[in-house]
């Protein structure tokens, strides 16, 4: 038994940094996939891609471990270390940022002159159904897609708060990010909220907002506004639960 372990260890060391990189990446992909943590980065529809990637990495790891020894000596050189360092960098960043989601900085960074809301797929198409249950929140995406149908009705939505200095004291944006493929292509989805009272919550707090929906036309576009809103603070969801997926 010990001999087997020793032999496997020797093989791993001989296979060099490349094998270590494969092992670490395999562990990271497994960690992301097991409890749906990958949703903090990519669209759930593409989880099979990560599974495919993990399968290929496993294949590569086995090929490194089963490789004849003399060839593997090359891979323990400085070059191997440099490549291993670069390939491990996304994992170091993953560790450093895990638990955080896109927030107010990304809202400002990824927003385009209020056109974000108009860019939601299915906004003009009639293929998405509106399903609401009394007293239950609807997603910001549903609200934006069906704002004309929901006009004048009482709505409940959840999202993050953003208020800047030029906004009146009770007004703020309630926003989340919509993702097509991965967080790099995130588009802000938001609604303007005009509350009854001055806002007491800081930016990036999660909140549930309840109020009457009004559609405000501006420069030939329609924007959703929630009036006379009641605001209730919510605990911050896990990063995987923060995004909306198209």
């Amino acid at each position: 038994m010990m001999d087997d372990i020793r032999k496997t260890f020797k093989q791993i060391m001989a296979a060099g940094f490349s094998s270590i990189i494969y092992i670490v990446w395999l562990y990271a992909l497994g960690w992301l996939l097991m409890e749906g943590r990958y949703r903090a980065f990519i669209q759930p529809k593409f989880s099979w891609l990560l599974l495919l990637g993990a399968a290929i990495l496993l294949l590569y790891l086995l090929s490194h471990l089963l490789r004849p020894l003399p060839e593997n000596k090359i891979r323990t050189s400085i070059g191997g270390l440099a490549r291993a360092g670069i390939l491990s960098l996304p994992l170091i960043f993953l560790y450093a940022i895990y638990g955080q989601g896109l927030g107010a900085h990304a809202l400002a960074n990824k927003s385009v002159s209020g056109a974000d809301v108009m860019a939601i797929p299915g906004l003009s198409a009639k293929d998405s159904k509106l399903e609401t249950k009394p007293g239950e929140p609807i997603s910001l995406l549903t609200l934006v897609r069906h704002m004309e149908k929901l006009e004048g009705k009482q709505v409940i939505v959840e999202g993050m708060i953003y208020q800047d200095a030029v906004m009146p004291s009770g007004s703020f944006l309630l926003f989340r990010f919509g993702i097509y493929c991965c967080a790099a292509d995130a588009i802000p989805v938001w609604v303007i909220v005009q509350g009854d009272n001055p806002l007491s919550l800081p930016n990036e707090s999660w909140a549930r907002v309840e109020g009457r929906l009004h559609v405000q036309p501006h420069l030939q576009k329609n924007y959703p506004v929630i009036l006379t809103a009641k605001v209730k603070e919510l605990p911050t969801p896990a990063p995987g639960g923060q995004y909306l997926f198209f």
């Binding site: 992301l32 495919l52 590569y60 490549r83 900085h105 400002a108 385009v112 576009k221």
Partner: protein
């Protein structure tokens, strides 16, 4: 003897020659990125940067792994003679076929670089390699479908993207063929696979090697390719994240005054965002309701799969620097000219 053959072929095929390799780029990049992590970790932009960087890598990695795997199997299972036999007699005709190969072999831009590396090593002409590299990620059914869906089933938009992508890929393939020889354009370690292929065939004909062993050899080639090229993907993704954080989408849009400037800015955005060709149409479509003309949106969708920061760095593993500069210039000029013509033809 068998070990010697594996060792030899692998060495030549992937260029794992430590002495001849420069590691300044990975080293500088690693120090730079690690410095960012150490000094800016608590700043508000760091989460946006980190999430963008990791997302691009996670999205592109499976495609790249698949590309290297396909490349490995091409290396072992397809001989140079078979490739040459498949190509039409006239070299220029190959370019027209190669630019449309994505229709039957749909690959995105992350997967295509390792595949083309292997095809080049197997003797595919330079022009055809360039045409496939540029056309493959656009002229393919998945990209056609995603573009049509993103634009609310506006088939003209999807068809226009295919046609422009094909035309530019053919044009630049022909020009590359005229301007450079293969030896001038491609790294010798990539071409060296041809010599290794011939030598291996003499030493031990493929018919004497079992399918299992050949598959093992293909996976070894593939894993070597991944280690070689993977770093470029990481560096490109980090650079893309950094630029996305430094320059907001609004900054890009606010600079767009005339159609020409809009086209240029959208081309800049395509290079910075580093999106997958199978999903970039959704981002392009998000500009429909702004003042950005269709021609600029088209430039965004045609340029991105051909040239972005991540691809530019991945091209280093295939082409010599001078050729990358020339190709980048040709691509930028061709895309701008095509979008400009489109703007006035509407």
């Amino acid at each position: 003897m068998q070990r010697e053959i594996y060792s030899n072929s692998n060495h030549h095929a992937t260029g794992v020659s430590e002495k001849n390799h420069s590691y300044w780029l990975p080293a500088i990049f690693f120090i730079f990125a690690a410095g960012f992590l150490l000094f800016f970790r608590t700043r508000p932009f760091f989460a946006t940067l980190g999430i963008t960087f990791v997302s691009i890598v996670l999205e592109a990695l499976p495609f790249m792994l698949l590309g290297t795997l396909i490349g490995g199997f091409i290396e072992v299972f397809v001989s140079r003679d078979q490739i040459i036999g498949f190509l039409p007699g006239r070299q220029r005709h190959t370019i027209f076929i190669a630019a449309g190969l994505g229709l039957i072999f749909p690959v995105c831009e992350c997967a295509i670089v390792p595949v083309v590396r292997r095809l080049v090593g197997k003797g595919i002409p330079l022009g055809a390699a360039v045409a496939f590299l540029l056309g493959g990620p656009i002229v393919n059914p998945i990209v056609f479908a995603s573009t049509a869906v993103a634009y609310g089933y506006e088939w003209k938009m999807a068809a226009g993207r295919m046609m422009l992508g094909y035309g530019i890929a053919v044009g630049i393939g022909l020009l590359a063929d005229l301007m450079f020889s293969k030896k001038q354009a491609i790294h010798s370690r990539v071409i060296a696979v041809q010599a290794a292929d011939k030598r291996r065939a003499v030493q031990r004909p493929d018919t004497q090697i079992s399918l299992w062993r050949k598959s093992g050899r293909a996976v070894r080639h593939a894993s070597d390719d991944f280690i070689q090229i993977g770093g470029f993907l990481v560096i490109g993704a980090f650079a893309a994240g950094l630029i996305q954080v430094a320059v907001s989408r609004q900054d890009f849009v606010s600079l767009m005054g005339t159609p020409a400037v809009s086209i240029l800015m959208m081309m800049g955005l395509a290079m910075v965002l580093n999106l997958c060709s199978e999903t970039d149409a959704f981002i392009a479509a998000s500009f429909r309701f702004t003042a950005i003309p269709i021609s600029a949106q088209m430039a965004f969708m045609v340029l991105g799969p051909m040239l972005d920061i991540k691809l530019l760095l991945m091209y280093i593993s295939l082409f010599k620097k001078r050729v990358i500069i020339v190709l980048a210039g040709l691509i930028l000029t061709a895309v701008f000219a095509a979008a400009w013509i489109l703007e006035f033809a509407r």
